[in-house]
Symmetry: C2
Subunit: 402 residues, 2 copies
């Protein structure tokens, strides 16, 4: 038999492990609650769009060119204005196969090996993976309960300038930060933009969770406050409608967007999903998101209550202001990488902090997603996690009423 | 305003031009005939899959893991056996966002800057683009009416060996070759595989058009004849069902596939399109493809007749054995790059040969796709092309009965 191992480049990634299905207590991945998928409504939309536009599936991109289905771009232009305060033209929106494609296209356009970017100290795991693969350095900016600290950002940018390093961009998730769940207030957003202007650095704003704030409010996007076209923006429908629908979007001034489009060599993103989403969103995006956010707020309360109950003082967290995850800090004796390993073997899946943060105390942190498990699973899962943690590290000393 | 031009790496691709819609006579791109999109049947399938599996959209990849929806992989395992003679397990199939993602994943896994690959001398334009971006060299193997010439392949492989160059793979489109439209007979397939074994090179078989042979017959896939697991295989539903549905697949032994999966960092391909396709294909893939192929055979006749009528002896071509394109050779006085430019400005879009071939006479060739335009447009488009060619190059000397 031919052995591919002999013909692979030295730096090829390791093989992926076999798929073994979801663990019983699945606190990883941005999955949603099955009960919150608007199945009937989506089905109605399919009937409508197939009757109206089904034949357009004959042409790549529905004949609307590389930016994607114009109907969905029109919805977005309106929605981004009313929800995030952004004023964008439909020609400034590029529809993608999920917002992860936005990361890839922006990186292909702007980054080369040896470059440096500035990011929040704790951040989405997938960005670290990408920077590592591209051989790009990142400098983490400490965060607080209001997101990226502007004073710390200024220090980072000054230090980089002193070293003669021009960062390629500042990557930030200002609204429902991943993993901390914070929302950056407007004045800090303005401070961040002032620094970006002072140091003449582009900003890459990831707003994937921004429609899911629990109080239904959000500050204007950085993109909305930007006066000089330096903010590149991405968003997604995965968190708001259905994760398995792979539709995201990149928003930027045309001088940047036209460059990024050149790297999109996939002959278009899935048109059926774009068509269905456009119809659904025009009909009921706002009402659906309101319902979903209320549901997620309830789940956030549940997981906070479970941590209070089973971990007690051993778990330190801030209740997330939106979204689907909670960032929990454990005592210094606990290594969450080890905890994730042991818990994973017992059917409780969590994200260890070191995969989600470059902070010095990353190994004390863990991220748990609460969108997918139901109430009983959340409670039982956190209880089991506490028991496993106690057995492995002796903490929490007491679990619940035991 | 911030000027991105100042912060782009030196080698960033040029900006894409603005989208101006389809030309009146569109002979480029793999679009299909609107009349051949099974709109009602697809709609019926949507109703069925949403009722059965709609809630599964709550989980990335429908909870079936990174290989994609198991229902579609099961259909493919059966279909690849009955249609192409392949014996593959569902765990050897990776569903993708179109077959172009297969090219990208295989290239990311196997190729690094400075590497060399072996390909047919005339080939799909997108592979050249990809190799150039990756700084990978390619050696073109001359083809004849039966596809890649095995004697020429042996010479290429021998010369590379003498130079100490180990090609990373042999890329081939053996069934309905793009752009020549030929089908490689089984004995030549065996000869190609024997050489691949002798020189110990992997083979990458692109079978995107293989379901569209006009006589409904096809030899076994290289993958089916391969005894030592060196063939990586890709296919697509874009040509057989609808281009705007972005679903393709990569088939390989698990030692390779598990590596390629590691590079698929898009959180899954579009699940709705996978679900609908699975239902549609189980119900009527074979009957649909039979109908579509007959329709395309008729269009192939139409475009051949149009060339005979308007270009006469100035156009040399082989009637394609399947698919949606024809590869036409013009007299040496004609430069198809210039022709494409002039014709494009007058609403007739064609692929110039140099974008589709590395052969010495590439600039005399052009590729015309005939899947999208209707009969009248095909006739009128080729007529206009002849007139434009005559005005620019003096050939054909006589057009039609004029």
């Amino acid at each position: 038999m031919f052995d591919f191992a002999n013909s692979l480049p030295a730096d090829t990634l390791p093989a992926a492990g076999p798929w073994t299905g979801f663990p019983a207590y699945n606190f990883v991945g941005g999955h949603n609650d099955e009960a919150l998928i608007p199945v009937d409504e989506l089905t109605d939309c399919m009937l409508a769009v197939m009757a109206a536009d089904g034949k357009r599936l004959a042409t790549y991109g529905l004949g609307d060119g590389p930016l994607g289905y114009s109907g969905l771009r029109q919805f977005l232009a309106g929605s981004l204005k009313s929800r995030a305060g952004m004023h964008v033209d439909t020609e400034e929106i590029l529809l993608l196969s999920g917002s992860l494609q936005a990361l890839d296209l922006v990186n292909q356009t702007l980054l080369r090996a040896g470059d440096t970017v500035v990011i929040e100290e704790s951040n989405y795991g997938g960005v670290y993976t990408r920077f590592n693969r591209l051989d790009v350095s990142f400098v983490g900016v400490p965060t607080d309960s209001h997101g990226m600290r502007v004073d710390a950002l200024e220090q980072v940018l000054s230090e980089l300038r002193q070293k003669g390093t021009m960062p390629r961009y500042i990557y930030t998730i200002p609204t429902v930060q991943n993993p901390t769940g914070s929302v950056m207030p407007e004045d800090r957003r303005r401070g961040l933009l002032a620094l970006a202007r002072e140091f003449d650095v582009p900003v890459f704003e990831d707003d994937c969770y921004a429609d899911l704030t629990f109080d239904g409010k959000r500050p204007p996007a950085l993109h909305a406050l930007d006066e000089d076209g330096r903010v590149i923006y991405c968003g997604s429908f995965s968190k708001t409608v259905a994760p398995a629908l792979r539709v995201g979007y990149l928003v930027a001034k045309q001088d940047f967007l036209a460059r990024a489009v050149s790297y999109k060599t996939d002959a278009g993103s899935g048109a059926l999903e774009q068509l269905v989403l456009a119809e659904f969103c025009v009909r009921q995006f706002d009402s659906h998101v309101k319902k979903l956010s209320a549901h997620l707020a309830g789940k956030a309360d549940l997981i906070c209550a479970a941590f209070d109950k089973y971990f007690g003082a051993s778990a330190d967290y801030a209740r997330p202001m939106g979204g689907i995850f909670i960032w929990v800090k454990l005592p210094s004796a606990i290594d969450t990488t080890r905890l994730a390993e042991v818990a994973g073997a017992q059917g409780v899946a969590i994200n260890p902090g070191v995969e989600w943060s470059s902070a010095s105390d990353a190994s004390q942190h863990m991220r748990l997603c609460f969108g997918y498990p139901n109430a009983a699973t959340i409670d039982e899962g956190v209880k089991r996690l506490a028991e496993i943690c106690q057995a492995e590290f002796g903490l929490p000393a007491q679990i619940g009423n035991k």
